[in-house]
Amino acid sequence: MSHAPTDTVPADDSASSFSIIATLAIAGMLAGLLLVVVYEATQPRILAYREKMMREAVGLVLQEPASFATLYLVDGTLLSDLPEGANAKDFERVFVGYDAHNNPVGFAVMHNRAGFQDQVKVIFGYHPETGGLMGMKVLESKETPGLGDAIEKNKEFLSQFSTALLPLTGVKKGAGKGDLHEIDMITGATISSRAVIRIMNEAFERWDPLIQAYDHGGSH
């Protein structure tokens, strides 16, 4: 009886499942370790820079108050102190500026919505009694360079936000009737200008009742 020659099995040079899993696990562990070290080393600087930027922005839109405090939205009420054990990052916040005698001079509010290209984030300060604006700064925007980005750079446009009254109405440049609620929009940046006005009106509508309740409730 003849036997068919048995096929020679090629030597298996592939790695075992264990070595594959071990390689990926060790690589993952080392990568994680390195990232933790770098995170710990860089995070204080990153947070300090963000805080500095925020302080500068609040100072600008509240016309350089003597001091300012952060108010957190906790269960529909603005509070200057967080409940024990709560993390400040989990709460929305507004800022209240004080003069040298510790009297509130105005509130600064942040809000964002879609502009022409991407989200536009704005901070502005106002007097809750009159609705009078104190200043506005665009915190984040990717509007078209040379056109939409004028909302950050156009001095004429920006200067209006320290005199106008909330809520705002956008008008074509030169078509206004002298109403204090009117803002002249920028030619060539109409969508971006309108976005800024909408952001501020939305923020005013949302935050003003809360700020009024805080301002008159004596919770500070």
Partner: protein, 217 residues
């Protein structure tokens, strides 16, 4: 694999096999973040760091990485260096980091980096892998600066934020917008191809002259 000298490994990526201008790799950041020299430089430095770090580790660990999971392991190494670069840039130059946005994180998928690991670092000793990474990283940075330089000069009338032409200059805004990226890349590629063809043509002419002289002799 073709044997090369250390000098060839270092200089190949800078010009002759430039990742952007010759190999057409990493075109996404080359088009997206080169609207100013500052952004181009930051992206170039970050990519250089990631490429050198990844090549060093891939070459060091090549014996321990099973073939079946080599690409996953390379990606893990690259992603680690990208995250380190991302945090480093945010801590040191936060303004530039904000402008570059998601493109720093997207260095992970820059095919030039993975390409150098698979084609070179995983097959060569550490020293050679590093030389290749330095050359390719420098070549990428040079290409980005060539793009960023032209776009900032024409699009903003400045170089590294220093005004060049005075107040009367009307900036070509299109150059800092996405179409300006494609236009600039197109003109640089045109220039590179013209230069390469001219060089080849001259070499041919020279060779023909030499053979003519030999025949005459």
């Amino acid at each position: 694999m073709r044997e090369t000298t250390a000098k060839q490994d270092l200089f190949r990526g800078i010009w002759k096999e430039n990742p952007v201008l010759i190999q057409m790799l990493g075109l996404c950041p080359a088009l997206a973040v080169t609207n100013s020299v500052e952004n181009a430089l930051a992206m170039g430095v970050a990519t250089f760091f990631v490429l050198c770090g990844s090549s060093l580790f891939v070459s060091l660990l090549k014996r321990f990485i099973p073939g079946e999971v080599r690409i996953s392991t390379y990606i893990m190494i690259i992603a680690t260096f990208v995250t380190v670069a991302d945090m480093g840039l945010e801590a040191s130059v936060p303004v530039v980091h904000k402008k570059l946005g998601a493109f720093i994180a997207l260095i992970v998928v820059n095919c030039m980096i993975l390409g150098r690991q698979e084609a070179f670092a995983s097959k060569r000793p550490v020293g050679r892998a590093l030389l290749d990474a330095v050359g390719s990283g420098a070549g990428f940075m040079i290409a980005l600066l060539m793009m960023g330089g032209v776009r900032e000069i024409l699009g903003m009338g400045s170089f590294l934020n220093i005004p060049l032409f005075g107040d009367n200059y009307e900036p070509w805004v299109v150059m800092i917008l996405p179409p300006g990226g494609f236009l600039t890349l197109g003109f640089w590629l045109l220039g590179m191809n013209w230069w390469t063809e001219r060089k080849k043509h001259k070499q041919k002419e020279l060779a023909a002259e030499e053979s003519g002289e030999r025949r005459a002799a």
